[in-house]
Symmetry: C2
Subunit: 460 residues, 2 copies
């Protein structure tokens, strides 16, 4: 049977997320990101469209690499202003029953203990519908907001991230046994002290005593997301990730990334199908080809090349304002995001002019892009899924709420007709929807599962 | 005209908050703290009762001083398990229009930059209905959860807190000018880069570059709450607090605390009436005296002395299990909570037996306690307000939702009949409700206001 296609919505608690310049479109409502109603309407829309999850990106600094200034970012609302991603989730969870929420949090600057409690709190409040997109942060300004003289080196960021994960797993999986909470009103015992444990973690970067403050939540560990595609990033994904936000814009590249991460996961003793793959994707869909093309042209016209260049500079470290048009970009193992550094150059030698032209063009080949009628788009998505081994797509938006509303109203029915999209949500927490019934908790083979305690043996 | 009495609800995202042993009562719903519905129902109840704010306490460690163990705390659900206080606010904000939310956050262990963004995010999402209860943390276990060998000393905690506040004020008040956000769709300008500033804070404890990531929220700085009543705590309150959660259980003590803090605030150039005072208070109200007494007896019967002793040990540092009954408690300037250390001893020499007896008794004189008919309770509250200079009360609960429901259904109508309680909410953000119309932002004289930038002068 052909695999069902899963859709995630890619969002951020800000005005300009990924395709800049478009906030000025009269239909675009992104300036309402500070209102609870914006998020509540979005969540209802996505649940009506049977989306798997809302994926919320985040940065904790400003894009100030381009032209050595943050001016472009501020002018174009390029991820500044931005607000905390976690705090919009509870209001959305209150008006939905199935939609999951994957929030981004960086392991580089804040301590693990309160983060673990925030994730447990959300997992409780959503009844098991949260994921955590683990990032290590690529903006130099973020380091300066946390008192550091410069960015932590790329590989050390991942070493910190590995230990951060270990602390969290110990808190989520190892601190409270399944039978710890007894709620015995007769005896006045809420929890059994013998079944609540310190974690006493002592590592290179963190020392955390515990116990975890939260009692076990439906999933314990939230579904772990990861997006890094550097060598070290893939290694991290293979070890920890249960869902990967895959970059790269052609079938071969995405297929190779997916196969590589799954191969590494298998080598670590994990079921490779326990790593779900979501390439990033932009969809423009119209009732007719002409309508789709008109939408594309309108979006292309508003796209801000300046904003896109400032974004690229901040995430990749390449400030194209400092290059001559025919000068080649020097690709290095930058401490910035390696995904972004490779984006547009794709590891090949490219001149600044070539990259700038690509950056200014919708459907530039750096991520999956499709534009057409519902039938055409569905054909393309089916092919991408079948040829890459992906499980679904992380959908970027151009206009809010139109991009997702179009997908839901026009594309989803077509995918359903083809048996490639769910017609209702299966029950259970988010991880069960990804891994199958009964799989609410981390599966055996996942590195977090080793911190679980054996069930207590009853003493006769 | 007699002053209106304001009511705050004192809550915590946990089972056992302040009066232990009561979660076993069949009507008590505190075990539902992990559900969004619990918080949504509570917020609706409090808004129906025209409460000023929901005040949410927090700790980031476990009570493990009593008998040198956390066993009592875990068994009795004494603030463990507990969940993050911020994450319940957005769902409550979505179903209310006026109720404010004051969340507790400690300045001792986490960095200021992301905290400032979390508060701004909440202030945006609630449309200006948030406060921050600034604490410095008294539990030794909290320090161990953040990699420290021991607690930071009491006075140094306050020095850190002062600098933490300075960083936050710079981010909230000084980073974005009022005119920075222009949202000019014609020119494609969301914000004017010339009006968004780095803060470039370099201090003893923190270095933060900025700019703040959030655009200005309705109140900018959330309403600042504080609860410390040590000498250093009062000094901090006089400088920063706009609302003080006052301890102490007799009229003279509360009046003296209030007068002292207001005197210090005035000496610092603040309007002393800009520091609102909320003594903690427990109310048991019944339709008749007999009904009220029956409620009191039922609660007294369930009160867990063991739980109260464990709470006292963790917050004060006095482990009464280590004292002989007739041994006197040695009152020291402990690094634990000085408020709590003084609670029950009130600075006087007391034997362990005397303190244990007080701890086990409802209405023990350590905080305002009143039990009676609506008329009797209203008489008492009026007297306390008029004799102490307080502005309202922070109401503890014994049973959820009954304690607040009784106050709202029985006491509030009586106070309204006397003209001592609002009959509808005035419009505007939380700070306007405290300070008056037009006062959404920090008033002149508050130390945070000095970081505000002068309005830009238009160039002709």
């Amino acid at each position: 049977m052909a695999k069902e296609i899963r859709l995630n919505a890619f969002e951020m608690n800000c005005v300009g997320h990924g395709t800049h310049g478009l906030w000025v479109h009269p239909e675009n409502t992104r300036h309402r990101y500070t209102e609870l109603a914006y998020w509540i309407e979005l969540a209802r829309l996505l649940e009506r469209g049977l989306f798997d999850a809302l994926f919320i990106a985040d940065v904790i600094g400003t894009y100030d690499v381009y032209k050595g200034s943050r001016d472009t970012a501020v002018r174009e609302a390029l991820q500044i202003p931005n607000n905390d991603p976690f705090l919009v989730v509870p209001a959305m969870a209150a008006v939905t029953e199935h939609l999951a929420f994957a929030c981004t949090f960086s392991t580089t600057y804040e301590p693990p203990f309160p983060h673990a409690r925030r994730m447990s709190t959300l997992d409780h409040l959503t009844n098991g519908r949260v994921g955590w997109n683990v990032v290590t942060s690529y903006l130099p300004n973020a380091a300066a907001n946390f008192g550091l003289d410069g960015m932590v080196k790329h590989d050390e960021r991942y070493a910190i991230a590995d230990e951060f994960m270990e602390v969290c797993y110990k808190l989520w999986e190892g601190s409270w046994e399944d039978e710890a909470v007894v709620r015995d009103r007769e005896r006045g015992v809420y929890a059994d002290p013998a079944k609540v444990h310190e974690i006493a973690h002592v590592g290179k970067y963190f020392r955390v005593l515990g116990p975890h403050l939260s009692e076990p939540s439906p999933q314990r560990t939230p579904v772990i997301y990861q997006a890094g595609t550097s060598a070290r990033g893939r290694e991290f994904a293979a070890r920890h990730a249960e869902a990967v936000f895959v970059g790269g814009g052609n079938v071969e590249g995405v297929r190779e990334s997916i196969a590589d991460i799954r191969r590494q996961a298998a080598a670590l003793g994990r079921d490779p199908q326990h790593v779900k793959m979501f390439p990033s994707c932009q969809i423009i869909v119209g009732r007719t080809r002409a309508e789709a093309d008109a939408k594309r042209a309108e979006i292309q016209r508003l796209l801000s090349v300046e904003g896109m260049l400032a974004h690229y500079a901040g995430s990749s470290g390449f400030d194209l304002s400092r290059y001559q048009p025919e000068e080649y970009l020097e690709y290095r193992d930058t401490d910035h995001g390696q995904t972004s550094a490779r984006r547009y150059t794709q590891g090949k030698r490219r001149t600044a002019r070539e990259v700038i032209e690509a950056i200014g063009k919708l459907g530039d080949g750096t991520l999956f892009f499709t534009c057409g009628t519902p039938e055409e788009v569905a054909d393309t998505l089916e092919r991408w899924i079948d040829e890459t081994g992906a499980d679904g797509f992380n959908l970027s938006q151009h206009l809010t709420p139109r991009t997702f509303a179009d997908v839901i109203d026009l594309l989803v029915p077509e995918l359903q007709r083809r048996g490639r999209y769910r017609t209702s949500y299966p029950p259970g927490p988010y991880r069960e929807r990804l891994l199958g019934p009964g799989q609410a908790r981390l599966p055996t083979g996942h590195p977090g599962a080793v911190y679980r305690r054996a069930a207590a043996v009853a003493v006769a």
